[in-house]
C-alpha cells in the first residue's frame, strides 16, 4: 500500500479464543518486526491478560481504558495513536508500524473510521491490513452464534485459520467454504499455534489473487445470516467520476448495510484503481501505476446485509449509461 511517509497500521481482530494473541506473540518474535512495531491492546474487562502475554511488546503496549474499542474508546484510540506519534517524533521510541489488537467482540469498522477521518491521524497513519483470526474447530458454531464474527470476516484482508491441527477435515472444509463465500477477496492462511510468516502483518495487496469467472453468475446468500454478496466485472474502462457519484449515493443511502465493497477498476489510466470500503468508510482509492498481473480484469464486489443484491445489480446496470461501460454479474474465486 502506498504510504507516503505515513505509519502503517495493522488491525488484528477475531472472536474470543480464536488465537489473536498467540498469533501476535509469534509475529512479535521476529526481531525486525518487534524492534519497530508498537502494539495497542484493547483489553476487555479489568484484567490485562492479553497485555501480560505479549511480553515482547511490553514496553510499547498501551492498554486502552474503558472496555470495548468500538463503543467507548474511539477517543482513547485516537489519544494512544497521537501519543505514539509524539513518542516517535521526540525520539523516545521510534516505530514504523502499529498493531492494534481488538477485543473478541469488537467491530473493526469504528477503528477504521477513527483513523481515516480524524484530521491528524488520517495524514499520519494508513490502515495497511486487517487480519481476522478464525477458529477452524469452533468457527461454524461461532458464525451461528456471534454476529460480530461475520463483520470481522467481511472486513478482513487476510484471514488466519487457527487450530487447523485439532479440527476434522470436514470442519476445515466447511469453515473454509463459508469464509470464501462471505469474503471472496480475502487471503486465507492456515496456522497452528500462531505459526505463520510474521510478515503477513504487512501489505494487503491481494487483489491479483482473484479470478473472474464470467460463466457462473450467482449472487451468493448465506444460510443463518442475512448477508449476501454480489460481484461484477466490466468489459470497458468505466468513468471514475460517474462511478464515484453512484457509489457515494449508494453509501449515503445504504452505507450501514454495505458491509464491504472492494474492487479493482479499469478507469482508462495506465493502472487500475483499487477500491476498498467498509460501510460508510472508503479508504483513499489507490491509483496504481500499472496492473499487478497480466489479468486486466476489472471487478467489483459488494458484501451486503439486508439488501436484495438484485437491486444493486439493477441500479448499477441502469447507471452504466453514465459509466460508459457494460457491467456483468460474475463469480470471483481466490487463486491459491
Amino acid at each position: 500500500m502506498k504510504a507516503h511517509g505515513k505509519k502503517a497500521i495493522t488491525i488484528v481482530t477475531g472472536c474470543l479464543g480464536s488465537g489473536k494473541t498467540t498469533l501476535l506473540q509469534h509475529i512479535l518474535k521476529e526481531p525486525s518486526i518487534n524492534n519497530n512495531t508498537a502494539v495497542i491492546v484493547n483489553e476487555y474487562g479489568k484484567i490485562g491478560l492479553d497485555h501480560h502475554l505479549l511480553r515482547q511488546a511490553e514496553e510499547r503496549t498501551i492498554l486502552l481504558k474503558g472496555g470495548c474499542i468500538c463503543c467507548n474508546s474511539r477517543a482513547d484510540l485516537e489519544e494512544e495513536l497521537k501519543e505514539l506519534l509524539y513518542a516517535d517524533e521526540s525520539g523516545e521510541s521510534p516505530f514504523e508500524r502499529v498493531v492494534i489488537e481488538t477485543t473478541g467482540m469488537a467491530d473493526p469498522s469504528p477503528i477504521l473510521f477513527t483513523i481515516l477521518t480524524n484530521p491528524l491521524l488520517q495524514h499520519r497513519y494508513i490502515v495497511d491490513c486487517v487480519i481476522t483470526t478464525v477458529d477452524a474447530k469452533n468457527g461454524m458454531l461461532q458464525l451461528q452464534n456471534n454476529p460480530e464474527i461475520i463483520k470481522q470476516i467481511t472486513v478482513a484482508d487476510k484471514i488466519i485459520l487457527t487450530k487447523t491441527d485439532i479440527c476434522s477435515p470436514e470442519e476445515h472444509d466447511a469453515i473454509l467454504t463459508h469464509i470464501q463465500s462471505l469474503n471472496p477477496s480475502c487471503v486465507i492462511i492456515p496456522a497452528v499455534y500462531g505459526k505463520v510468516d510474521p510478515f503477513i502483518i504487512q501489505e494487503a495487496s491481494n487483489v491479483d489473487r482473484l479470478k473472474v469467472i464470467h460463466s457462473l453468475p450467482s449472487p451468493v446468500t448465506h444460510p443463518n445470516s442475512n448477508v449476501s454478496s454480489i460481484s461484477f466485472s466490466f468489459s470497458q474502462p468505466l468513468d471514475w467520476t460517474a462511478f464515484g457519484l453512484w457509489l457515494s449515493m449508494l453509501l449515503h443511502a445504504n452505507g450501514e448495510k454495505v458491509m464491504r465493497v472492494k474492487g479493482m477498476l479499469d478507469v482508462g489510466e495506465d493502472g487500475p484503481v483499487v477500491l476498498n470500503g467498509v460501510q460508510h468508510i472508503i479508504h483513499p482509492p489507490q491509483h496504481l501505476k500499472q496492473w499487478p498481473s497480466h489479468n486486466r480484469e476489472s471487478y467489483l464486489i459488494f458484501i451486503v446485509r439486508d439488501i436484495d443484491t438484485a437491486l444493486i445489480e439493477r441500479s448499477l446496470k441502469t447507471f452504466q449509461q453514465f459509466l460508459h461501460t457494460v457491467a456483468t454479474t460474475c463469480e470471483l474465486t481466490t487463486i491459491y
Binding site: K2, H4, T117, P119, Q122, D239, T241, A242, G244, L245, W246, S248, M249, L250, H252, A253, N254, E269, G271, G277, I282, H283, P284, P285, H287, I307, L311, I312, R314, S315, T318, F319, Q321, F322
Partner: protein
C-alpha cells in the same frame, strides 16, 4: 483551508483523490484537468438531479452550488455532502436502489 471563504476543510472525500502523488495543485499545473473533471462531475450530477428538479453548478473551481426551482441555494463542497443537501431540499430520502428513480432513468435514456 479555503483561501476564498476561510472554510476549514477537514476531510478530502474519496472521490477527490487522483492518481497524482502531489498533495497540492498549484495554479496552472493540472488546473485545466481538474476544472474539466469538476465540470464533468457537475454535468453528471445534473443528469441525475434533474429527476428531483435540482441543478448543480460548478463555482470557481472551489465549490458547487445546488439550487432548486424555488430559488433556494446551498453551497456544496464535495460528493460526501451533496446527498445530505439534496435530501434537505427535496424533503425525502434519495436512494440509487429506488425502483422509481431507476425507471425514470431508463425511460429517459430510451427516449433519447
Amino acid at each position: 483551508m479555503c483561501i476564498l471563504c476561510g472554510e476549514f476543510i477537514m476531510q478530502v472525500h474519496w472521490t477527490d483523490y487522483t492518481d497524482s502523488t502531489d498533495t497540492e495543485i498549484t495554479v496552472g499545473n493540472q488546473q485545466r484537468i481538474r476544472q474539466r473533471s469538476r465540470l464533468h462531475r457537475a454535468n453528471l450530477c445534473n443528469q441525475l438531479l434533474s429527476h428531483y428538479r435540482l441543478t448543480l453548478e460548478e463555482w470557481n473551481g472551489s465549490k458547487f452550488i445546488l439550487r432548486d426551482a424555488k430559488g433556494n441555494a446551498e453551497i456544496v463542497h464535495d460528493l460526501g455532502t451533496i446527498w445530505h443537501h439534496v435530501e434537505a431540499m427535496i424533503g425525502y430520502p434519495i436512494d440509487p436502489l429506488d425502483g422509481s428513480l431507476l425507471d425514470k432513468i431508463t425511460e429517459r435514456s430510451s427516449a433519447q
